[in-house]
């Protein structure tokens, strides 16, 4: 359930970058202050372990398809919330850069969806509460399954919110929710089962490893709760702002650029005088904003000749042909320049 | 500088799970000696080595390195004096590039940047790895990794080199190259190894550990000629000291 750059708007991507960066900064401070030095290599190597473990598949019971470990909850059990969050975030950074899982702008979303929920919600408030300190095998499995399911449900819902408020995908909110949540219910159960199997295996073979994770930061302590509450408040606030943006100005950046440069006014008054200005005006007429299909929008924009979807469709033909030809030319031009640069480098 | 550089007295170590790794180990190593510690798997070799730079704390007994007893206060100085090269070079080379790795120790000693750079350069040249300076460790071969691992320790200018299984996993050429390198070091050297031929070539003295106690301690050739001792301690005579099975000629 990695978010991809291609589905994100800058406003949502940027906001989530901010949230993720803040959480990383806070967790780094906590880890540096509260954990001993031996955790430094441990976090790094466990991150690499998750990376490797995610590539090993298993057959999902009763379905025959194959799955792999996510690892967020497992890391939280082994390392405690802060170190686990940093570790998950670091794995996601490498995945986004080397394997195009997600993307650079989507990194904020992915770190939040896949790191924050398991480390700061599912582990301290569900897993630890149910499992207690010396869980039996069944209790541990139940705790792991419920925690994994809750963590993934929240993550999946967060993906839906981020995607819908970005407005690149046309998938309606309700359909998306109905699509995502059940799938992640199944994934969550499997993730919980796998986590429980691994944890109980390790608990039997090397009990001190599982115990080590329990010590560093006691969950449910006041500071953690405060942090959680403030994060929740912050994300609600940000979410509110983002959705307001998305509804008022479907494209926040475009709106901002237009405001800053005053483009709209310029084209409005000096329409069709100069070729560049003319094409600029065309561009705006071509795609004024998200609401271009509504006649009301056309009317409101006045001079931009947006009449209605049907009438406009034929009018757009000219622009589209030119656009298509231009696209091909610019592509050829880009690769042509690349070719020349390459040749020059070879002779240099 | 005292004459005894490493002194271990009645060292005992019991792991948390109750395993007795070292029962009662006493030994003295002198300045400039090259000593091998050999023994079967589980004899306590690695546990002993980990005491020498204070990573493990003994249940009872005493360790002196140079002029200092090993205590919490002398630990930093002792860790500088005792250069420890681990068996798996991947555990030792944890920094992004060879340079950073070799510079890790000197930086921790608080040396200024220019001196660190000088040291790194000198040490890498000494082990024949100057050309690897900017490479990340995962692009190195096994032999290269080993030599760089030794460089990471040499850069702290230790008096004593402690190496766990230096030749394990190396191809014959890399092994030969490494042995040539080790022979040239003027440091006091302590090795553990199952490569008994290397022991014969590099160490004048050998200590045999068996079930957590010192079973024998003496000149290497003498020890390897004691067949009864070797059999008891799950060891065997190095190939270079056995008669040739093909032509029948002895050494």
């Amino acid at each position: 359930m990695h978010m991809a750059d291609a589905l994100l708007s800058p406003a949502v991507g940027g906001t989530m970058w901010g949230v993720a960066a803040g959480t990383i900064a806070y967790s780094s401070m906590k880890v540096k202050k509260e954990l001993d030095d031996s955790k430094v290599p441990l976090m790094g190597v466990l991150g690499a372990f998750i990376f490797a473990a995610q590539m090993i598949n298993f057959t999902i019971p009763a379905t025959g398809s194959s799955g792999h470990l996510g690892g967020g909850l497992l890391l939280a059990i082994l390392l405690g919330p802060y170190a686990a969050f940093l570790t998950i975030a670091s794995v996601l950074v490498v995945q986004s850069l080397f394997f195009a899982d997600g993307g650079i702008l989507a990194l904020g979303c992915n770190i939040f969806n896949l790191g924050f929920f398991p480390a700061f919600i599912a582990y301290p408030f569900i897993y630890r509460k149910i499992a207690g300190s010396q869980p039996s095998r069944t209790r541990l499995s139940i705790a792991a399954i419920i925690a994994a399911v809750v963590g993934l449900q929240m993550g999946a819902f967060s993906v839906v919110l981020e995607t819908v408020s970005s407005g690149i995908s046309s998938l309606p909110f309700s359909t998306f929710v109905v699509l995502m949540q059940p799938i992640h219910l199944a994934i969550g159960i499997v993730e919980g089962l796998v986590t429980a199997t691994v944890v109980s295996f390790v608990a039997a073979a090397r009990p001190e490893i599982i115990r080590a994770g329990n010590d560093p930061v006691t969950p449910g302590r006041l500071p953690l709760r405060n942090v959680l509450l403030s994060f929740l408040a912050a994300s609600l606030l940000i979410g509110g702002i983002v959705s307001w943006f998305a509804s008022e100005n479907p494209d926040g950046l475009e709106w901002a650029i237009a405001k800053v440069t005053g483009t709209e006014e310029v084209t409005g008054t000096e329409e069709g005088v100069h070729t560049i200005l003319a094409s600029l005006q065309e561009k705006i007429a071509f795609l004024p904003d998200y609401s271009f299909k509504q006649e009301a929008a056309g009317a409101a924009e006045g001079e931009n000749n947006v009449d209605g979807p049907e009438g406009d469709a034929s009018g757009r033909l000219g622009t589209s042909v030119a656009g298509g030809v231009g696209a091909l030319i610019s592509l050829a031009l880009a690769f042509g320049i690349g070719f020349v640069l390459r040749r020059r480098q070879q002779f240099a | 500088m005292s004459h005894h550089i490493v002194e271990v007295k009645h060292l005992q170590h019991i792991y948390a799970d109750g395993t007795v790794a070292l029962q009662d180990v006493s030994l003295t190593i002198h300045h400039g000696e090259s000593v091998a510690i050999i023994g079967a798997n589980g004899a306590g070799k690695s546990t002993l080595l980990l005491h020498l730079n204070g990573y493990l704390t003994a249940n009872s007994g005493e360790i002196r390195i140079g002029d200092f007893p090993l205590t919490k206060k002398t630990l930093p100085e002792i860790r500088r004096t005792v250069g420890m090269v681990f068996q798996d070079a991947d555990d030792q080379l944890f920094m992004p590039t060879v340079f950073d790795d070799v510079a890790f120790g000197p930086f921790n000693l608080g040396l200024p940047v220019d001196e660190v750079k000088q040291r790194v350069k000198a040490v890498l040249e000494q082990v024949g790895a100057a050309h690897l300076q900017e490479k990340p460790p995962y692009h190195l071969s096994g032999g290269e990794k080993k030599r760089v691992a030794i460089a990471t320790v040499l850069s702290m200018s230790p008096d004593i080199l402690v190496m766990d299984e230096p030749t394990s996993g190396l191809d014959p050429f890399a092994r030969r190259q490494l042995m040539g390198l080790l022979r040239d070091f003027q440091h006091t050297k302590i090795f553990t190894s199952h490569d008994l031929d290397m022991v014969v070539e590099l160490c004048q003295r050998t200590i045999v550990l068996h079930k957590g106690i010192v079973k024998a301690d003496g000149p290497t050739l003498e020890i390897f000629n004691d067949d009864a001792l070797l059999a008891e301690c799950r060891l065997e005579k190095p190939l270079s000291m056995q008669g040739c099975p093909v032509c029948g000629k002895g050494r």
């Binding site: 298993f58 046309s170 691994v198 561009k283 589209s320 656009g323 320049i337 480098q345 | 681990f86 921790n108």
Partner: protein
């Protein structure tokens, strides 16, 4: 599912590209990270029905890859591997968005198809930019740049450790998984029963390795601080690089370059 060995080889290959020496490689990593960010943000800032205006943006990945001497075929292949995923996501748009967008002769193209094509194009551009960033910069320098741009040291050290041991642990994981596959004799014996202990063992070995690494760090005087030398600096060249590209992106964002060129050629403009 990708094979472990394949993934590691791929990682190593991309990593090795960064050791190259070119005008682009020599730039300070911060300049390249910032430019990549500006590029991605501009590309995704178009609304969902924008398609043609995205094409001129190819100038950036193509020029950077060429100046950086990256093997074009390799980068293209890496990008192509991602396209199916983008296509699956993009395919939902034509289903839900059937509004007529443009009519070309007998063909009616809906907004959904346009936005689907736009999503794929965005994927190619953003994914390409990420690969190229790594190829001309290298992970270590990216981390160094992140740190000098304000990322906490704890996190960059974490990234470096993670990256260093990916190479070690994926090999360990591959060995374990190969052993399991070989002994399951082609049956579907790869269920949870063997997966748990396999991963568990890998985890225990990982834990022990972390202990040994910590030992090796302590043995060399580690006190909790990492020191590093700073190699490069942010000079006029870097400033010019970031400002130049950003200007190009903003112009291409404001002005549909493809439209403009197309009109010039087709002569629709009078």
């Amino acid at each position: 599912m990708r094979s472990i060995d394949g993934a590691v080889l791929d990682l190593k290959r991309l990593d090795l590209l960064a050791t190259g020496d070119s005008v682009i490689h020599r730039l300070d990593a911060r300049a390249k990270v910032l430019t990549t960010l500006v590029f991605i943000v501009t590309v995704v800032s178009f609304n969902r029905y924008e398609f043609t205006a995205l094409f001129p943006f190819f100038i950036y990945p193509v020029v950077t890859a060429s100046l950086g001497n990256l093997p074009g075929g390799y980068i293209v292949r890496k990008i192509i591997m991602v396209i199916p995923f983008a296509f699956v996501v993009g395919m939902l748009n034509p289903i839900f968005d059937r509004e007529l967008f443009v009519r070309i002769g007998p063909f009616a193209i809906t907004g959904g198809w346009i936005s689907c094509a736009s999503i794929i194009l965005r994927t190619v551009l953003t994914v390409g930019a990420a690969f190229i960033l790594v190829g001309v910069t290298g992970f270590l320098s990216v981390c160094e740049a992140l740190e000098r741009l304000g990322t906490p040291r704890t996190f960059t050290v974490q990234l470096l450790f993670l990256y260093r041991y990916i190479f070690v642990l994926t090999e360990e994981g591959a060995r374990a998984s190969r052993a399991r596959e070989l002994r399951s004799c082609g049956r579907k014996g790869l269920g949870l029963a063997s997966f748990g202990p396999l991963i568990g063992h890998l985890l225990i070995r990982t834990w022990l390795r972390a202990e040994r690494i910590h030992m090796a760090m302590l043995a060399r005087g580690f006190t909790g601080e990492f020191h590093s030398r700073q190699v490069s600096g942010f000079g006029w060249r870097e400033l010019f690089y970031v400002a130049g590209w950003s200007a190009v992106f903003v112009v291409l964002r404001m002005e549909n370059g493809a439209q403009w060129m197309g009109r010039l050629v087709t002569g629709v403009l009078s």
